[in-house]
Symmetry: C2
Subunit: 79 residues, 2 copies
């Protein structure tokens, strides 16, 4: 089963990468761009009986490895 995990910084956590991108976009001629946030996605194939099982496994992976849950939140899409 194909699983996509989206990891983003929690609201309120300073996104320095986003700030750098925002400053670069302003400099390149898009002064109106605001609130830039950079996240990451992890896609993978997972052998699982059904969608619920895949999501449960992916959640465990996020808690253990894929996300730093102190500062990041994650969303799981299993297809």
């Amino acid at each position: 089963m194909k699983v996509v995990v989206h990891v983003v910084l929690k609201p309120g956590v300073l996104d320095v990468q986003g700030k750098a991108v925002e400053a670069a976009l302003h400099g390149l001629g898009w002064p109106g761009v605001a609130d830039v946030r950079v996240g990451r996605t992890i896609e993978f194939d997972l052998p699982a009986a059904d969608k619920a099982a895949a999501e449960a496994e992916a959640r465990a992976m996020c808690e253990k490895l894929l996300a730093n849950t102190v500062i990041e939140s994650y969303r799981i899409d299993a297809e």
Copy 2:
């Protein structure tokens, strides 16, 4: 307008970060995980008249800054 840009490595380009995550997941007890690919998302607010205009601007941003189009492809979602 809220814009989300998804950037992923093109098929065939070796994803070393994905390989590292895959090896770590195997070591943590998920030997069945395969084809791990890591991408990134850039979310931002953009003043634009309509969805088509926002997408056109975001496409220009991708070509200039957000994606390395030699090895990466991108997808734009404007809402």
